[in-house]
Structures are given as structure tokens and as C-alpha cells.
Symmetry: C2
């Protein structure tokens, strides 16, 4: 993409009401624009990051055997009356009447809809397990939306729902999601810690939150250091084999957020040198809740014995739009964002220090063509701007590499290659720089 034809409206200063660093940087780098309280438009650069995160989440869901569907944003109130949640949900639910005075709502989550879909088509244990997920906009009418897309009202969520014939099956489904989440966050270069969670208003027996480490995070997390260092299981595990050992290996080590923290247990279970306390941000939440929806909504499954029983369900959420902000909280410096390669909106920024200079233009075009062919998605700053402004805006938007091409360097046969994460700059011939970026 050439900046002269793009739309990347960076700002010198963030609005004063942007309190946290990710919110400030998202506004300054032109990733989003607030349209109403807690409601954002995604500008080109922000949308590209959102889509890359979405795609990683999708690939890891698919790998773990989940099947993608797409549920509508608006839902029938009657379905929520069936589950009994319509009156309980409170003011966070955006209630709507259509022109015929029918009660609709903007889905804050989709247990009811997916249970309705499931019961319409699936009857037999032979068709299980099933895990249906979707990545769709949701709405929660927060009383005080703030922190940008971190706590917005309209937000993009991946929500998956598993259906099994018995508890053992449901636990296997839960384990697949538990491990898929670790892989998902690892691909975004995030350190994610699964902590046991309160099952809260959704109810049920078993639940974990996934908290990624970020110095500026909203909550505190306490964990055994071995858990943090253990990392993700990787994609090549046997997803339909016995995953319990891999899950146990992680859940037997102490990990808790402030809500559930028990200092005495922490000290009993982790020796001092293994006790880690850090700030973090919740980016995922998984639940096993059994028959909570399937029973009132009569989503029943005939077992191998011919007897019908309510399906055993779980649900699994990832805050996709929230992750954009969470990654920034985990990876930035004073100059701006530092995107991990896997979610960077473009792989490399090419800075043309003197547009109009034939040699510089030609070198930029050669770099642009070569990097495009190599799949590195270059963003070429061909604007008529001061070099200082170009450096500042590329640091701000945080692409992994900067390739700086100017007349002085070229006269010596060199361009300059800068790694955004480290700030390291090195002069070298263009061809050598291209080999570093796209080996």
C-alpha cells in the first residue's frame, strides 16, 4: 500500500479523556475513531490488525475441531425467555422493539441462539461432539464504557459452544478449547496464563480465564513461574486423543487473578522463587455449564441406550476487538506501538526520504515490488512530508521493520534497516536489507 493513496490519519495528541496507553495509541495511530460512547469505527490500519487477530483465532478453532457459523447480531427476546435469562440480564442488554412491536435484543452472547440451532438439527449421540463457533459483533450496554475498545459497548467476540452427550465428552471438548486458547495467544506473542475463574452469572462447574501479561494491565495475577514458562502445547497434539495430561500439567500449578487469589495457598503451593505476581488483562474465558441451557430449552440427545438427555454444553469466548488493545498494552514504548509480526497491519514500512528524487523513487519501487512478492505487505511512505514526521509516524504505528531509503545513503550504496522492537538501525545495500526482511 502507498500512503499517498491510503487513509492513515495519525494524530499528534490523543484526546484528554483517553486514560490508558492502548486507547491513546489507538487514537493517535489512527486505528479507530469513536463514533459514540463505547462504539468505534475501525480505520484501515486498525481493521487490518483486527482481521489478523480474527484469522488466528479462526485457524486455531478450526484446528481444534470447532466449526464456524455466523449468528445474527439481533436475537429474539422469546429465546431468552425460554432460558429464563431475559428478565435477569439487566440493563447491559440492549432491548429493541421492531416496527411490529416484537421484542428483539442485540446479542451480548449467544447461548440461546446456538442452543436453538443445535436442537433444530441434532438428535443423536452419533452426531456428537459438536463445537460451533462464530466471530460476530456483540453489544453490552455498559453503564460507563471506557478504555477505548478494551471496554466498549459494540465489540467483536469469538464465541464457541460445545455439545456433548455426557460429562466426559464435555470435559474433552473443554480441554480442546483450553489448549487451543494457549496456542491462539502464543501466536500473537502473548504470554497467557489460565486462571481458575468464578463461574458467575453463566453458572456451572468449571471455568478458566486467560490473562495475558501486560505491565499496564487492569488486574493482578499470581502464578507459579513454571506455568508461565511452560507455554503453549503447539499445534501438533492429537486433538481428539486424551488431552487431560496436558491440561492437568497446567492446572495443577497455582494461578489466580485477584478475585480468586488465596495467598496462603499460593505460598503453600509455590516456593518463593517460583511465585510470580504481575499485571494482566483478561482476553478469554471458558466455561463448562452442563445442562443450564439445554435443559430449559429442551436440546436433548438420544444416547446409545436410546434415552434422551439434555446435551452437556460449554461456552468459550475470546475478546477479538479487546485483543487489539491488549496486545498494545503488552507491547509498546514511548514512541508508539510495537506489533508482533503475526498481527502487524503491514510487515514493513518503506520510508522514501526524498520523493521526486529519481534514484530514491526507483529504489523504493524496487523494494516495494520485491517485498510485495515476498508476501511481506509493505507500506510505502511516498508522501511529501519531512523525514522527521515520517519516522515519527512509522514508530507510532509500529510495523516490525522500517526500510529507510534516501539520497545520501544510496550514494554510498546503502539503505537503512531498522527493527522497530529494538530500535536497532543498520546501513546495508538494499538487496541485503531485503534478504533480512524476507529471508
Amino acid at each position: 500500500m502507498r500512503l499517498s493513496r491510503y487513509f492513515m490519519p495519525t494524530l499528534r495528541d490523543a484526546p484528554a479523556d483517553a486514560q490508558i496507553v492502548s486507547h491513546r495509541l489507538m487514537l493517535r495511530a489512527g486505528l479507530v475513531r469513536q463514533e459514540a460512547a463505547g462504539i468505534y469505527a475501525w480505520l484501515p490500519l486498525g481493521l487490518r490488525v483486527l482481521r489478523k487477530i480474527e484469522q488466528i483465532v479462526r485457524e486455531e478453532m478450526d484446528r481444534a475441531g470447532a466449526v464456524e457459523i455466523l449468528m445474527p447480531t439481533l436475537q429474539l427476546a422469546d429465546l431468552w425467555r425460554e432460558s429464563g435469562r431475559y428478565d435477569d440480564y439487566g440493563e447491559e442488554m440492549l432491548r429493541i422493539k421492531d416496527r411490529h412491536e416484537r421484542d428483539l435484543l442485540y446479542g451480548p452472547t449467544a447461548e440461546e441462539v446456538v442452543t436453538d440451532i443445535f436442537r433444530s438439527y441434532v438428535r443423536s449421540y452419533k452426531d456428537l461432539p459438536k463445537n460451533l463457533y462464530n466471530i460476530q459483533w456483540k453489544f453490552r450496554d455498559e453503564r460507563r464504557p471506557r478504555f477505548g475498545v478494551m471496554r466498549g459497548r459494540e465489540f467483536l467476540m469469538k464465541d464457541a459452544y460445545s455439545f456433548d452427550v455426557d460429562e466426559a465428552g464435555a470435559r474433552a471438548s473443554y480441554n480442546r478449547m483450553f489448549l487451543a486458547y494457549l496456542n491462539t495467544f502464543a501466536r500473537m506473542e502473548l504470554q497467557a496464563i489460565p486462571v481458575r475463574a468464578d463461574t458467575g452469572p453463566i453458572g456451572g462447574d468449571l471455568s478458566h480465564e486467560f490473562i495475558i501479561l501486560a505491565e499496564t494491565g487492569e488486574s493482578e495475577v499470581f502464578a507459579h513461574r513454571d506455568l508461565v514458562e511452560m507455554g503453549a502445547p503447539g499445534p501438533d497434539i492429537d486433538w481428539f486423543g486424551d488431552l487431560q495430561p496436558l491440561v492437568d500439567q497446567r492446572t495443577r500449578l497455582y494461578a489466580a487473578s485477584d478475585e480468586m487469589h488465596d495467598q496462603a495457598r499460593f505460598e503453600a503451593e509455590a516456593p518463593p522463587e517460583k511465585r510470580m505476581t504481575a499485571r494482566g488483562i483478561e482476553v478469554g474465558h471458558i466455561f463448562y455449564f452442563g445442562e443450564k441451557y439445554s435443559k430449559p430449552m429442551k436440546a436433548v440427545i438420544a444416547g446409545s441406550d436410546g434415552v434422551e438427555r439434555p446435551a452437556q454444553m460449554g461456552s468459550y469466548g475470546v475478546g477479538v476487538s479487546r485483543l487489539v488493545a491488549a496486545i498494545i498494552e503488552a507491547s509498546h514504548d514511548d514512541a508508539g506501538i510495537i506489533w508482533p509480526e503475526s498481527v502487524a497491519p503491514y510487515g514493513v514500512g518503506i520510508i522514501n526520504l526524498r520523493p521526486g528524487d529519481a534514484a530514491v523513487d526507483a529504489a523504493c519501487e524496487r523494494a516495494y515490488a520485491a517485498l510485495t512478492t515476498a508476501g511481506k505487505e509493505p507500506l510505502l511512505d511516498d508522501r511529501d512530508e519531512r523525514p522527521g514526521a515520517k519516522f515519527a509516524s512509522l514508530d507510532l504505528v509500529g510495523l516490525p521493520w522500517q526500510l529507510i531509503i534516501g539520497p545520501k545513503g544510496l550514494a554510498e550504496g546503502n539503505v537503512e534497516l531498522k527493527r522497530r522492537a529494538t530500535g536497532e538501525r543498520q546501513a546495508m545495500p538494499l538487496e541485503a536489507a531485503l534478504k533480512v526482511i524476507a529471508p
Copy 2:
């Protein structure tokens, strides 16, 4: 994908209230499920088609220089009060109050939001032209939603908005979209006819609808045969050069839908053998409307003379979810859907005629692996079902190829390869069949 792990709930019969063939086939093939009047969930197969159509639309927009953003589904009523449309829009607009009694609405279109984004950042003619598009769910509260996703209430639309400093620039932007639309529909193997359109409630001077030919289409279209045969300009035109000749070549030939048809002019402008009358479906609509929104909303641009003038705008819509139905209307037979390759949910269905037979299973796995590697996205029917049911469901869901593998054929060293569009079947060795599908 293996059907044993998939979710493809085909139905023997469509509900009686599904009146048009695409609606019946979408329900029977398990592409969508109605969740409320005019509100659909997209099941796995339907979602894959929707995403492929969306991606073609995206690629052709990008090629023509438009830049993707994403606007929220909910919008502030106040913006629509600025443009003067809030009170005019009528009952099709879904009006919503949030918990603080602020007026929101579910966007039926996004001229106001995009104009607001534009005016917040862009001030100078140097930054133009700009064309911002998004592919987002919209809502129009139709009094009588029907025909499935063809006339739904919650629907996926691509809407692009161009901003130029003067009318000549705006016409160039219009021309890019005009030609990009022809390329877009051509990639879906649709015959699209641009017809001059009434500018209607959006207002303005210049407008075309794009109607794709389908025997079961909703409206009648009258066109000079040369226009139909001229086809799309292809991707390799100079998008920022003078496109007027390519547009004129097409707009000087007679084309009208029933609304705007003038039989006398038709007969004057086309000799009898060149007069084509056919059924069609509107899938796109483009407008040039000048200052209609930029003036009341004060989206002004400083020209090279330093004088500020309202930006010249156009808008350009494609019904993305509607296209799923429109393609089916244009391409089906008594047995089911016939997907064009570019939007087919999977490229080839592999029918295992006897799961459990070691030789058949092995051949199916070999085919599955080879076709996956070749990027042909195979769908393997490994279910324990009668062959007849497997044939019927693959015909119904309409993948371009069927690869039929059974014990009898294998004993003779053959599999059977069927082309869905023609029904042609041919016995040949597996390796030969793989070469035909993935040359």
C-alpha cells in the same frame, strides 16, 4: 473437511413458506436458518460462500483504489439529524434507545457516519481522491421480509463512499466503481448488466443498478445484446487513468429495468435481433450525489485555490448476502445448487461409498490429502449413509466436482469423477481424476 466432524444439516423438504428457489435451496442445503423474520443464522456451508463472495468484492474494491474500514452497526441518531434524514427515513429504520435514553439506530446505510469520519481528518484537495468502503451488517426493518436472504432485514452489504474535490474527480471515482463492479460480478460467473437507475430517496444526478441475469429473477431487464456480450473490462486496466471511454462504451448501449424502460427508445436504439429481454436480480447500486451530505454536514475541502467547498460524494453498494441467493437463482437445477468455482464452499466432494472398507478408505484419504495440498478444499463424505443419500446431498449442496470412490470401481482400478454442472460422469484411475480436478 470430513462430514463426520462437520455440521451440514441438509433437509429433505423446505418449509412451505419458502417461495423462491434460492430460499428453498438455501434451507434444504443447510446454508442458513431463519432466527426471526428476515434474520438468519449462517450455517457452515453458507458462511463459506458468504466469505468467498465478500473476499471477491474486497479484492476488486482494493484493486480499484478503495480503502477498507469498518463502521459500527449502531449509529448515533444525531448524525442523521445533521443530514436531515432521521425523520424522513420512515419505519424501515430500526430506532433504539440505550440505557441512558440516547437515540441510536441500526445503520441501514452509512453516508452520515462516513461523512463524519471524513470531515474529522481530511481537509485538503491534496488528500483526495478517497474512497472508503466497508463490509458490514446492516438492518432495514422491512414491513414484510421474505424470499430468504434476498430480502432480509439483517443483511451484509459492501458500501463504498467516494470523496472528491470536484465533479470531474467524482465522475472518475464513479467510473472506477462502475468498472470494478463489472469485474466483481464476472468473477462470480454472473452476467451483470448496468442499467441507468432512478436516483430515488438518496438523490443525485447519476446512478446505475447492476442486474444479474437469472431466469427466476424478480425484475425484467431490457438490453442491447452487445452490452451483455461485451462483458467486464478485466483487472488490468489503468485504474487511475481515463476510464471514461470504457464506461461510455457500455452506457451508450440501451439497458433498462422495467421501472425505467422506454419501449420506443429500446426499439429505436437496438435492431430487433439485438433486443434482449430477460429476468434479473439487482445486486449492486451506485450513485453520484455531490454535496447532498457534505454540505449539511460541513465536510469541506480546501481546493488548490485555498477556497473551501463541500466534498463531492458518491456511494456504491453491493448486496453481499443477497448475492448468495442471487447466484443460486442464476445457477441451479432440479437436484440443487450449482456453485461457480470461485464461490463454492468446497471445491470437490469425495464420496466414500463404503466407509470401513480398507481399500476404499485408503483411496479416499489419498484423494483428500492430495486435494487439500492442491488447495482444492475437499469435503469428504465419510458418513455411514446409503450411497443414494450421499449422491443426493452432494448434488443439493452443489460443489463443482464429485469424486466417487467405491469397492467395485477400485477393483477395476477406477474411481468415478462427476462434474456437477453438466452431470457428466467418467470412470478413470484415481491419479487421473486428481489431475483433472487439480491440473
